[in-house]
């Protein structure tokens, strides 16, 4: 399988394996020949680099060119109504860089001009209002870190192990610090009538994306956001304004937000009836499955990130999250679930945010079956895929939060598998 990888990555792995082999044998002794990386004068030591004008908006090293969002072309009919995936296996920490946040569009990327941007609030309010960008920037704002997970993340795995890489099995997620105005303040400005119970959030894109959201959630923790990780939202993430609906399925986080309507019942629009409803084995379907259940995945080692060295000390790492709170604990197993160990959590623990875990251990070089299991702050424990299938069958597409297994062989190569 390595022959299908990009050359830079393959080169890296080959080199790393060679070095790893040397490491095992030669740790105690000296290298037999001096390392030219040290003894030879390197060009960057000798010649001047680019000045400060060369990269007014910086971008990653050319050696990181393989770290990109990727599409699975056969999934959808057309790239303008499709999805690509965050390269989780290449990232660390908890924040997703803006350019790597997965994209899901239903009518392509809308290119809005902030000068003509308007946000309307209408329906069951005392005063239907229109806000400009300028107006929004005059409300008190908040900063919060939240994950956004597509309800269909891992949806291709309901019927069994299928896609070989956590980018594809779990990459419909990103975690960003949002700056925005609490939706509550905008609704209060318009004056919500007592009969109100729902809002409809609407996007300005060519799909006219709409979702019904209960008023209680809208008044609780939703944000009308205009910044991600400090800078303006990227066009593909809803520039200039998107809705943030913490802990709830990504489709509700309406991008290019142009209108909030207040009403007394849900609208039952396309994305909450024909899509984003969960078909169960009896032919009936759950609707309004908004919250994202606790979930985790080991991002390295994983099929796209094999172990690049031989036996010895190594780092296993992954991500965990819950739409119902924080992640105080993650368990990992190296033997397919016979024995579990608590992983080490590292980094800030925010409500409804990604959490980073590590397991540092000495690999004996034998095959492993790796799994991780998230516990959230409500006491929920991430179930196995089989436990989910017992209740939900295999046709529900959405909300697959089952435990993921990677089989790692003696060479450190990992594969997506299911186990007994």
């Amino acid at each position: 399988m390595t022959d299908t990888r990009d050359p830079s990555r393959r080169g890296f792995l080959t080199g790393a394996l060679a070095i790893g082999g040397g490491f095992v044998a030669a740790r105690a002794g000296a290298e037999t020949a001096p390392d030219p990386a040290i003894t030879e004068l390197q060009p960057w030591q000798q010649y001047l680099g680019e000045g400060v004008d060369a990269r007014p908006y910086g971008f990653p090293s050319e050696h990181e060119a393989h770290v990109v969002r990727r599409n699975v072309p056969w999934l959808t009919a057309d790239a303008t109504s499709s999805v690509n995936f965050t390269p989780l296996h290449e990232l660390d920490g908890i924040i997703t860089p803006n350019g790597l946040c997965f994209e899901r569009h239903h009518g392509g990327i809308a290119e809005l001009d902030p000068g003509s941007y308007r946000l309307m609030i209408n329906g069951l309010v005392d005063s239907p209002l229109v806000f400009t960008m300028q107006d929004l920037l005059r409300f008190p704002r908040e900063n919060r870190v939240h994950f956004l997970e597509c309800a269909a993340n891992s949806g291709m795995e309901w019927r069994g192990a299928q896609l070989n890489g956590c980018q594809f099995t779990h990459g419909m997620i990103h975690n960003v610090m949002y700056t925005g105005v609490p939706l509550r303040l905008l609704l209060e400005e318009a004056g919500v009538r007592t009969s109100a119970a729902w809002i409809l959030a609407e996007g300005a894109d060519a799909s006219g994306m709409t979702r019904s959201i209960p008023l209680e959630k809208a008044l609780d923790d939703c944000l009308v956001a205009f910044k991600m990780n400090g800078e303006a939202l990227r066009p593909e993430q809803g520039y200039p304004v998107r809705l943030v609906v913490p802990g709830w399925e990504g489709n509700m986080w309406v991008k290019w937000l142009r209108r909030i309507e207040v009403g007394d019942q849900p609208w039952h629009h396309r994305e909450e009836t024909s899509k984003y409803t969960d078909l169960l084995p009896d032919g009936r379907a759950r609707r309004f499955t908004w919250e994202m259940d606790a979930k985790s995945v080991i991002t390295s080692p994983s099929p796209q990130a094999p172990i690049p060295h031989g036996p010895g000390p190594m780092v296993l790492t992954g991500l965990a999250w819950s739409g119902r709170g924080t992640i105080p604990r993650v368990d990992v197993t190296l033997d397919g679930g016979v024995t579990w160990t608590e992983a080490r959590m590292s980094g800030p623990s925010f409500d409804k945010s990604l959490h980073r875990f590590y397991h540092d251990f000495v690999w004996d070089g034998r095959p492993m079956l790796l799994q991780s299991r998230a516990h959230d702050s409500t006491g929920y424990v991430q179930p196995t895929k089989d436990a989910l299938r017992e209740i939900r069958g295999e046709n529900s597409i959405y909300h697959n939060n089952g435990i993921q297994t990677w089989a790692v062989n003696e060479s450190g190569v990992a594969e997506n598998v299911e186990i007994s």
Binding site: Y57, P73, D135, G160, I397
Partner: protein, 416 residues
């Protein structure tokens, strides 16, 4: 250095903003340098109310060209202005299951069929059976409990209002909100007819709307995970000697369904319709290691310089967005709903391999017709008038300058 043009676009698009802000930042950088020594910056926290005016001022200054703040009004902040009734009417087009929001109008099944064939069938099939990976709209009744559920308007959608609302707001794909209320009533009536929900003499109107009940309405229920799953999945888990043995029961079924490889193997659709990758539209030939996209919608600068006016080509690239839902152009362009348009100018009509042309284009090809710039302009102005019977649903470009720009763009894109 192989980076996608999209990223370059973002990079260059961001320059003006970054430079605009950098002057301020430069000042602040000097002043704020000791900040970390003061104990760092909290990562998260609500801005306290008294910080807000200063922040807002900086933001307002960088916002640049925007209009002056709206006049104050009664309320907590007095921000924003009253929405005018015409403005609300322009944007508030949503329909609810009880029919709230439906405009006056009506349409019958047979008018709907004509419109459907013209506007919808290239993706959804003449009878709503769906083409390729595009959604199937009809039939599928009785499949929801089986291994391959087919979720269509008739078999799955709980409310008729959803169909009306979605067709009106988002269809045809790539030409949203172009259908009149009467046309939406007619198309909706035809979709109901295809699903055997109504007879062929049915006329859908605001008045008859309430008579229709969708067959699957009662099979949806509120999320019951709190009752069914949460307690079950909140038990203390086993940590040691949890099982006697472990076997691998399934390997990533077909390794090659990951984009690194080919496109064979089974799978389910992100959007929920059944199918396998084998049904997929032709795949772009781009190697996975190559971050270049399969099709580059931007004209190559060299080609543009040697050919038509670059500004015209640029305008044409914008106009081409109207075509992108169905056509690709550029080096690796593939056939989609419509044939690829690479090297279109000068190409014999109806000559792309592997594309299933309308009969009228087959005839044109047999007659030896070629896409000259003039002929293309004529076609773009009135597709169905020029080639009666074409499957292309696009109604045509009204403005001559848009046609000229699009032709220039297609010429330059072909010259890559």
């Amino acid at each position: 250095m192989s980076r996608s043009p999209e990223l370059f676009g973002l990079t260059f698009g961001g320059i003006a903003v970054v430079l605009g802000a950098s002057y301020i930042l430069a000042d602040q950088f000097v002043v704020d340098l000791p900040a970390p020594a003061r104990g760092g910056v909290p990562l998260v926290g609500a801005a306290s109310a008294d910080e807000v005016p200063a922040e807002a001022t900086v933001q307002a200054a960088s916002a640049g060209t925007e209009t002056a703040p709206s006049p104050s009004r009664e309320g907590d902040f007095g921000l924003g202005r009253a929405a005018l009734p015409e403005e609300v009417a322009a944007w508030d087009i949503d329909i609810r299951p009880d029919g709230q929001g439906l405009p006056e109008g009506s349409g019958d099944v047979w008018t709907g069929e004509e419109l459907f064939v013209e506007q919808c069938a290239m993706c959804h099939g003449d009878f709503g059976e769906g083409a390729g990976r595009w959604p199937q709209l009809a039939m599928g009744q009785g499949t929801l409990e089986g291994p391959d559920p087919v979720k269509t308007v008739g078999s799955y959608w709980p409310y008729l209002s959803t169909v009306w609302d979605y067709v009106h707001r988002a269809m045809p794909f790539g030409n949203a909100q172009s259908l009149s209320p009467d046309e939406v009533y007619a198309i909706t009536a035809y979709i109901l007819y295809l699903n055997e929900v109504v007879e062929d003499d049915f006329v859908l109107s605001r008045e008859s709307f309430a008579e229709v009940t969708m067959p699957n309405e009662d099979n949806f229920y509120m999320d019951d995970r709190p009752e069914v799953e949460l307690a079950r999945f909140s038990e203390a888990p086993c940590m040691e000697a949890c099982k006697d043995g472990v076997e691998i029961t399934m390997h990533a079924r077909v390794l090659d369904v990951t984009p690194e490889g080919g496109g064979d193997g089974g799978g389910i659709d992100l959007e929920g319709s059944s199918g396998s990758p084998g049904d997929a539209a032709p795949e772009p030939a781009a190697a996975p290691a190559d971050p270049e996209p399969a099709a580059d919608p931007e004209p190559a600068t060299e080609a543009a310089a040697a050919g038509p006016d670059p500004a015209l080509v640029e305008t044409g690239a914008q106009v081409f967005r109207k075509c992108q839902a169905c056509h690709e152009v550029g080096e690796d362009a593939a056939n989609r709903v419509g044939p690829h348009l690479t090297d279109l100018v000068g190409r014999p009509i109806g000559s792309v391999d592997g594309f299933n042309y309308s009969a009228v284009f087959e005839e044109a090809r047999a007659a030896g017709d070629v896409w000259t710039e003039e002929h293309l302009a004529e076609f773009l102005a009135d597709p169905r008038g020029t080639y009666p019977g074409t499957k292309m649903s696009f109604g045509g470009l009204r403005k001559d300058d848009e046609i000229a720009a699009l032709v220039a763009y297609l010429r330059s894109a072909g010259a890559e």
